[in-house]
Every structure is written in structure tokens, then in C-alpha cells.
Symmetry: D2
């Protein structure tokens, strides 16, 4: 069984493993106060061209989203997000568990627009009794989105502008940020992210690390006491060095970009194969997730040797499915798959 | 600088590192549904003589305590704990953040007694209007305690009995469980824990693993939907295999016991050295934490080469301090320290 | 200015005032343990033909919804409701503030169907990883709905059936329950409510009382410790007798039905006037709320002497507006309004 | 049975009842936006010499404490209070239910000192890892305290000073504020309260009103969006006018002070009677609550005709009990009690 079901099926990039072994006997202070974390922070600040940014390391995505959002909102405020946003759908109500509503916007492709945000905010304040509704308190997007699509720099600038006008922090879930950076369509740099949003994070779990998400806080007013929140939400890893070592390795000489590019290259091979075999794509993704719409019999055939996830029923005979590649995807597996796909399609 | 400041200053036991490397390229399903987790569960169930137990793996202690407690209590219930308990003091109010009060009992040495629990519960129900106070909903202890002390089997049986009588689940924070098992005073087995409490966990972070806590749910009525809670609280590690692999290694052939014993052996050498030099011990610990009361000038001298933590001011010229050993403590470091301690004491 | 803007513009029915005066100097125990509460409970149990029901009195609707829902759900569960449901829109995220998501269903008229509930629940359990989403934990409806529409007994029975099949408690927000009972289309009795749902409440605030909502808990398993929750959520009125006295008066000899009927009679006069003047109704309501779609100039004219609420823009020249009647609506005001409406319509 | 068990055994002062009747048919906007509320706000601002203060009306004390505290704290902060404080003991964990720990200080008489606050705050910031503990976020006191004792102006000024130095808002629970103002020992005015704290409230429930607490927000930075919090916590009364009318009546011409004085006068008669009969007082209260230590046989005798509350067992043969007077206490009842007390004491 070759797994394309998600982008965390393997352990970690070999250079990270190597570094973990080399540093294993070092004695360091706990909770992210060690030198590896400090060095990793430096590398990230540099990439972001944000020397004043606060950088914190957490273990996983749900934890990171919850901690960031809880650090920003007052109790009666909510987070604006696409209805398909991770915080709206796949975190078991973690945001609600911190007391906050997710205010959802309809979205066909996982993205939301500046106009949508503006209209939701305006509608709130137009209400004669706004205090009877949840007040919009921040805007959450992820890039790439749950559907593999990406924002352009122009779209991000428009969101930044509307957020400033509405006095709403803009936060970006970057669990797959590297795969966005590596997209052939991408025109956004880490420095742009730092310039255009208030808080974002750089995902490691899905991109080369064993685990780990690096939170970058740009907005000065959101920096205060963030470590209290990490600790309270259970995200302050005792051996914080493990996070520092991983992000140090990913960012000291471009490994993060390199492995991201590999994953996207592999995904584009898959994409081409689906298109060449005449299959439509549910979303127009040029990142590491691909969503072909396949006939059920093709799905059944492929499932014998490959794992991938069901996305949605399209009609009686077709479903959209999701294939993920990652830093760890082997080219020979992709080629084997492409061959098998051709074979299945020709045969039928 | 040689660090005795806590028991998580190094990475992980070499056998765990080795296993992580060997398995690194395996492709596994996420979120703890892989074969390594399944095997680790089997080993733990066997050690606990609890074939029906549910076993879940989480990353860290605060997260684990919060998740267990949130899974048990109704909104108006609280957790009974020693006033020095970890959930009462060192988790930034994580329990309160899930809506629950910690109902504290005074404790000199970190332990609470069955009688104390009974009296607190009785007092609640004696009240003419109990619904105006937080209802006791469970009993939380840790073994060893924050002070390195341990419960005897008789004490644990008494707590079990009173908890049953009061219909309160008994949960045990085992972040340092191995160091308790390895204490020369210990008369409790893992099977005893499984027999005498409702939920407990076996700490890995401080005992050989990079990170990880294995939750063992014994009480049938507390098993339902626990994974939802893990996910909601941000504790469901994407690459759950990392936890499975570590606990598999720790429990397949006794490594957990072996490294625990090493740490306690090292601690007892420290203990003896303090006693021989005429220093009192703040708590009578036979586990991996030692709390000597030292003159300030001794503390100052030792601090040049060793890190350890300030515990409390005892009088104008003395403080209690904490030394931790761990699975990773090197015997030569301990011997060096003992020599240095003698030297400092003789000189003065 | 004559107010049709909501159904709580006046104080309380004169018989309630009278009873408050008569009983004012009585000394009673606090928190609902007095004889008036006990008598009121008896009357309500009798009307509901539910001698075993628990009856509790709370002050207002948001508080009541929050308390009921918090008493039922486990932390990772959510409440299914219409997207226009009060808990989804007009309680400032009170449900989320207790940690729970509102799982919304689309609704044109404020009602949800048994089929919709079934499909949402089935979709949750069909998911390969249901623990990544909020688990449906109860079904919330209000009757009448926010749009003045009502469920038929058949629809309620269907909901009851699907809830039983899915093991979800069915709770009914009855803030305007009396106005539903008084609708000419109604075929549901209080006894039916008690038979078909797990918890419901009988609104007093909008129906004759100064304030107060009577919660009726039918399901045995949901009765435990409800008073703790009322107290914790700030809903346990010190002078609980005030609630007892009001519900005693409303239910000892049918006053509740009588004043409800008056309000609906007044609303139906308004309805007829709108229809006769050629206006469409946004919702087909036969309860105390009417939602005509009026031209902006008619709205402007009427606004000089009458207050009512803007509901939604329908097109460039029309808006739906809401008129409420209540137990306190004076017939001469309604007639004056009808005349004014005719005049405005004729003139233009 | 004559009731001294609490200070909310009767309905409301007759002038309040009268006003409720007079205004009953007025039509007003909901939620505190009516003219009665506005007038009441004006009276209160004037008494407080705080023309810029925000004044909000809520129904009960627990709700008010919870709403104020939730409006101030960030998620990882706690409220400093006496261990006997109402929020620490008698609100079923309502503060914890909003996610916040109550940080308790020992107290013999219900009061806390500026020095205690300073020491707790200093200890937090002295900690090498403060983010592992709950951060002190505000100071809560009540005046009078749960024990009937009162703060002097000098003590309040000292608290104000330490709170400013520590940048902690000082909030005062004034559920019995009037009874403090009426104490013969009192040297604090409403204007002093407004000058010396950030938020306080003026209790109506126990002092003449049917129900109601008037929150006065002095600190500009704490005013924002308070109505959202009231609504979310279920405290926004639909017929807000009921609160406005009551506080208007209490404050338009000094009724609040007048009824408060009556209650304290009655309490001092009780106090004198206890002292004259040789009984010690558990707390030195000159407000409306008295805590005599009585022999069990005296308690038993008196219980035949009077209700009062058990406070605590003092020794095998004595208990402290609590007697409350209120605005509604009848002088003849007090005199009857004094006679009965003498009789019981003489007989034995």
C-alpha cells in the first residue's frame, strides 16, 4: 500500500533526524528557552524580514490555531473564516471550546474575499442591537486552503487592507505554508506574510519535521503574555529544544523550501496524469493536494494499491478524492501510480 | 554546567532514537491508528494486567491532565487535589480554562489522605444548599508527588475505597510514574494502579522518551468518545506513530523500568551525599527528586557548575533546593557533584 | 408612539401585579424553595400531564437556553439548530461561551425537519474520522420559531422519532410557547410537548409575566443536579418566589392561555389588514409576530406613529418588517393602526 | 416563623411596588434603553460624583460578578479574593466556568489587605517561570464582606494604591453596599468608591428592590462592549425598565440610604441583645449581619420560632450562627426576638 492519504505518513526528513541524534545528549533548559530555539527564531525572523517578530514553537495545528485565537479575542468576539476552514470543520469545536464562535463565510474553493469580510463586518455594525450577536474579532484564513488553492499577493493585500479598516487582526494558518510558497502560481514571500498579517504560522508537521508549528507574531499588541496561553492550552513542550532543533534545520539553509518544492513537483505530476486521462479537478490546486473527480470503478481499482481520501460524492458514479504528496513522497511511487492510472483508464 | 534542574534536559534514550530512525520511512495512518500504537497499547495492557483498558497517547502532561479531567466532570464539578498538586499550581489554570475549579486540600508532603477526601465530600453534602458550591467530581493525585514522595499501596487502597464510596473517579498523574515504581519504598505495580484507579497515565517525557504520556482508562464508563476530547484539546498528534514507537520501545522488554531505576539510583547517591554532609531534606523522597536544605553559601558555590532549582526560602541563611536525576543522568556527573559537595562543605 | 417592536414593551399582567402586592410581606426561603414555586410547579406538571417532571424557574431566555444546553452536552458535542435559531444568531455566542458549537441547518421559515436532522447525524457518523468534528449532541427547536411559524404535531412527532433513533435529546425553546398554543393552526398541547421532547420551557417574559421562563425536564437522565447549573450560570434568583408567584398566577386558572389568545387575535387582525392591502407576508405566521413586506414609503409613513422592527431588505423598494403583539396589546391601538394603514395605502 | 435567615425573604419596598404599578402600561424599548434606566443612571452618577461613569443594571449577584470579571481578565489571568469571598465559595464555580481561577488569600474576617495583595503579586513575578502559573489579573473584594465586616477608607485607599502599582483593576462586590454605608463605623461615600476602584456595584436585591444590581464602571478602559458581555452571560433583562424603575426609586431621594439605615439599626439591636446576654460575636460586624456564638440549647430553643443560618461549629457545645436583618425587618419582630432571647437565657 502506497499512501497518498495525507501529508504526514512518514517520520521526518533525514537531516532533522540526524540533528536530533547529534544533539541528543546536550543538556538544555526546558520550554523553549534553549539555544536551538533561539537560533531557529533568528533564522525565521530573518526569512520574514521581521527582526522584531516574536516566534514561538508549538506542537500541532489545532493547538496552534486555538492558542492564537484565544490570545486575541475578547469573550464575545468570534473568528471570521471560510465555512470550509479547518477551525470551522476539523478541530472538534476547539475554538468553541475556548468560548468563541466561528463566523463562517461561504466559499467555493476555500478562499474568502475582502468584500465578504467587509460585508459581514458592516452587517454586524448596521444591526440596531449589535450586542445581541457575536462581534467579529479577527479574520482567519489558511494558505494554502483546505482545498489546495492559494491566495495571490493582491488578494492578501486586499484582506490586509479591509482588516486594517475594520480593526480586525488577520491571522494565517500556515500548516501547509511551504507548499503554498512552492506553488508555481505563488507570488508571496515570507516577508510578505509578515508585512500583511498580524500573526501567522509556518507549518513543520506536514513539511519535513516530525512535528511543530512556528508561530510568528508581528503585531506588537498581540505579543503580550503569549507564553501563558501556550502553557494553559497544553502546548508548551517540556523539551522545547526538539522544536528548536527541527526549525533550525529547516531554516538554516533553505531545507524548508527545498522539501516543499519536491512535494509540489510530485503533486503536479499527479495533476497532469489526472488531466491527461480526462478527469476533471474539483479544485484548481497547484500545491501538494490534488482533488480529481474519478469514476467509482477507477477509485476501486486504485484503492487496491494506493490509499487516498474520499472527499465528496459528485454524482451517482463519481466522487472527488484527495491525493496528498509531501516532502517524503518518493518519485518512484508517483511514477508507479501514474502508470497504474493509465493502465486502469486504458483498460476500461 | 551540569544540569540537575529538571528531568527533561536531554533528548531521548538511544534505543528510542534508533527505533525512530529505523521506522522513519514507514508510511502509517495518522492520529494513533497505526500498528506501532497498537503494539504499544498491547504491551501496556499486559503490564497493567488490564486487557480491557483503553490506552491513548498524548504529548505532554498539562494537556493530558486537562483532557482527562474535562472528559470526566460535568460543568459544575471540580477536581479534588493537594494544594501543591500540579493542576493546582503549575498549569496556568488549564483546568479552570476548561471551566472546572480545583478543590484543594492542605498537604505537607504533596500527598492527600482518604480521610481528607471524605471530609471534603461530606462537608459538601452536609451543606444545606450544596448547589451553591462546586460539587466534588473526581480525585486527582500524582505519584510520585511534586515533592518526590510516594503513596504506599495501603494509602492508595484507602483512596480507592473512599472514592468508590463517594462515587468519585480516582485519577493518577503519572508523569513520573516510573520513578515511583523504582523507589526502594515502592510496593505498587502497574497492575495495582489499574486495579485501584479509574484513569491514570504513564509518563514518557521525563522517563526515556522524547515526549509522550500514555493514558490508561480502566473505568468502562469513562472510555466513551475520549478521542474527541484529545482532538478538541489539541492533543491528537498527527504522526501518532511517534508516540506508539516510543512506548513500544519503552515497554516491549522492560526499558521503562530499567531507565527509571537508573535515575532513582543516581538520586539516592545524591541523597546520601546531602545527608552525610549534615543537611536536612525538605521532603523524605526516595524517587528521582531530592530536596536538600542548604546554606546559601553552599548553594552559591555549587551554582557555578551545577544547575538546580530554588524551592523555597527556609530561613535567613538556608533554602530548600531541588535536584532532579533522570534516565539520562550520567554517573560521572553525580560523582563529580558528590566530590564537589564534600569539598565545599569541608572548606567552610 | 405605539410600539409593536417586540412583545416585551409593557410590565406585567395586572393579576400578576396584584398577586405580587398581596404576597409582598410574606417571608419565604430563597432560591425557589418557597411554596409559591412549589404550587406553580404543581400547576405546570398538571397542565403537562407529567407528574414526574422537574420544573425550574429562570429569569430570561438566553440564560435558560444556555443552562439547558450546558446541562446536557459533553464538551465535544454541539447543538443542532436552524441557522436562524435564537441560539445561533441572537445570544452573542452564549452557547459557544459554554464551549459548544451550534450546528446549523438551513431553513427558509425557521423550522427544521426530521430528515435534515437525520442527514446531519448520519453524515457525522459516516465520516472516517468523526472525532475530528463536533459530535451532534442534541436538537434545539423553538416553537413558535423566530419567524412566527409553528410546528405541527406530526412534525414534532417526526423530530421526536428521529431524535430517539439518534439518541439525541430534543429541547424546545418556548419563549413564545403560549402564542404557539393559541395559533389557530395549532394541534399541540402542553401534554404533547411533555410527551415528545426531553426538556422544554414555557415562556413568561413575553406572555404576561414581568419576567420568567419555566423549564420542564421530562427525561429522567437529564434531571440530575440541574440546580447547580442554574446557580453557576447566574440564573438562580435570590427571591425565587417572584417567579413562583408569576407562574402560579399564569397557570392556576388558565390566564396563560387567555392572554396568549388575546395576542394572537390582535396579530391576526394585523395580518388581515396587511393582506387586504395587498402586501405579501415574508413568513406565513399565525402567531403573535407578523412579517409583512412593505414598500419603503409605507414603512416611512407608519414609522411616524408606530414602532416595529426592520427584518430584511427584500428589493430596492421593499423591506420585510416585523410587528409583534402581546398579552398587553390594546385593541384600540390595533384598530388605529389598521385605519392608518388603509389611509396610507389609499393615499398613494 | 420569623425569618432572619437572609436578607431577601420579602418582596420589595412598597414605593418600588407602587412605581411598578404606575408605570406598568408604559411602552418602552427593551434591554435597558428606556428612560427609567436613563434616569436611574443619572441619579447614580450624581451620587457617585462620577458623571462619566457607565452604569449597567443586572439581575443578580453571581451574574454580575461573573460578567464583570469576564469583561476584565485575559484567559490566563485570575481574580485575587479572600478565601471566604463569595466568588470563591458560593457561586458554584461561576468564575471558573468562565475560565478563570480565583486566587485566594487567607482571611480571618473576610477582608484582605494591601500587603497580602502585594505579596501575592510579587511572588508571581519573582517566579523564574511565571507563565506556568495563573497571572493575577484583578483584585475582588466585597464591602461589607461575607462576615459583615467593613473596610475603612484608609484600607480601601491602601488597596487602591497597591492595585495601581500592580496595574490590577480593583472591583468591589456591593451586594450589601448600602448596609456598609449605613454602618456606624463607615467613613466611605459612594463618591469614594467611585474614586478608589475601577468597577463596583450597588446591590438592590438585598436592599429594597425586588432584584437588581447596578454596575458602575469608572475605569475608561473597562467600558468597551460591556453590553455584549451582559447579553452573552444571560444578564440582559428584556424588560430592562424593571431595573431602571427600581433604581430610580431607590436613588431619586435617598430611599436607598434610608432603608439601609433601618436594617443596620435593627441589626445593632440584635447585636446588643447577644452581647448583653453574654454571648461572643464570631465577627465584629456593625452591618446587617450578626454572627453570635450560641450554645446549642439556645439555638434549639430559638429555632422553634425564628429561622437563621448555621455558620460553623465552634466547639462541642457551641456554634456560630448568622442573623440577617434587611430593609423589610419589622421592629416588633426584633423586639419579640430580644425578649425571647432574654427569656431563654434566664431560664437556663
Amino acid at each position: 500500500m502506497i499512501r497518498f492519504e495525507n501529508d504526514y505518513t512518514e517520520g521526518a526528513h533525514e537531516r532533522i533526524l540526524k540533528r536530533l541524534i547529534e544533539t541528543n545528549e546536550e543538556q538544555t533548559p526546558g520550554y523553549g528557552m534553549d539555544e536551538h530555539c533561539e537560533k531557529a527564531r533568528g533564522f525565521i525572523r530573518k526569512e520574514c524580514e521581521a527582526p522584531e517578530a516574536d516566534v514561538h514553537f508549538l506542537v500541532g495545528g489545532t493547538q496552534t490555531n486555538t492558542t492564537i485565537i484565544a490570545s486575541i479575542l475578547r469573550p464575545y468576539q468570534g473568528a471570521i473564516a471560510a465555512e470550509s476552514g479547518h477551525i470551522a470543520t476539523h478541530e472538534t469545536g476547539a475554538i468553541e471550546a475556548t468560548g468563541h464562535k466561528v463566523l463562517t463565510l461561504p466559499s467555493e474553493d476555500g478562499k474568502i474575499t475582502a468584500d465578504q469580510v467587509k460585508e459581514l463586518v458592516d452587517a454586524h455594525w448596521r444591526d440596531a442591537s449589535p450586542e445581541h450577536s457575536v462581534q467579529p474579532g479577527l479574520v482567519y484564513i489558511s494558505n494554502p486552503t483546505e482545498n489546495g488553492t492559494t491566495y495571490t499577493k493582491a488578494e492578501l493585500e486586499a484582506l490586509n487592507k479591509v482588516c486594517e479598516a475594520c480593526q480586525l487582526p488577520l491571522i494565517i494558518d500556515g500548516a501547509r505554508l511551504g507548499y503554498g510558497l512552492a506553488s508555481p502560481d505563488n507570488d508571496i514571500t515570507l516577508a510578505d506574510y509578515a508585512r500583511l498579517c498580524d500573526v501567522f504560522y509556518i507549518g513543520g508537521t506536514k513539511i519535513g519535521a516530525m512535528f511543530g508549528e512556528a508561530v510568528v507574531i508581528i503585531n506588537e499588541s498581540l505579543k503580550k503574555d503569549f507564553r501563558y496561553l501556550i502553557k494553559q492550552r497544553g502546548g508548551l513542550l517540556a523539551k522545547g529544544r526538539l522544536l528548536g532543533i527541527q526549525f533550525e534545520t529547516l531554516f538554516e539553509d533553505g531545507l524548508y523550501y527545498e522539501v516543499s518544492k519536491h512535494a509540489v513537483d510530485m503533486a503536479l505530476i499527479l495533476r497532469q496524469a489526472f488531466v491527461e486521462n480526462g478527469f476533471a479537478l474539483r479544485y484548481d490546486s497547484t500545491t501538494n493536494q490534488q482533488f480529481p473527480i474519478l469514476p467509482e470503478y477507477v477509485i476501486a481499482e486504485l484503492s487496491n494499491n494506493y490509499s487516498f481520501s474520499h472527499w465528496e460524492k459528485v454524482d451517482a458514479r463519481h466522487s472527488a478524492v484527495r491525493f496528498c504528496t509531501s516532502w517524503a513522497t518518493k518519485k518512484e511511487h508517483v511514477e508507479m501510480f501514474v502508470n497504474d492510472l493509465h493502465r486502469v483508464c486504458i483498460r476500461s
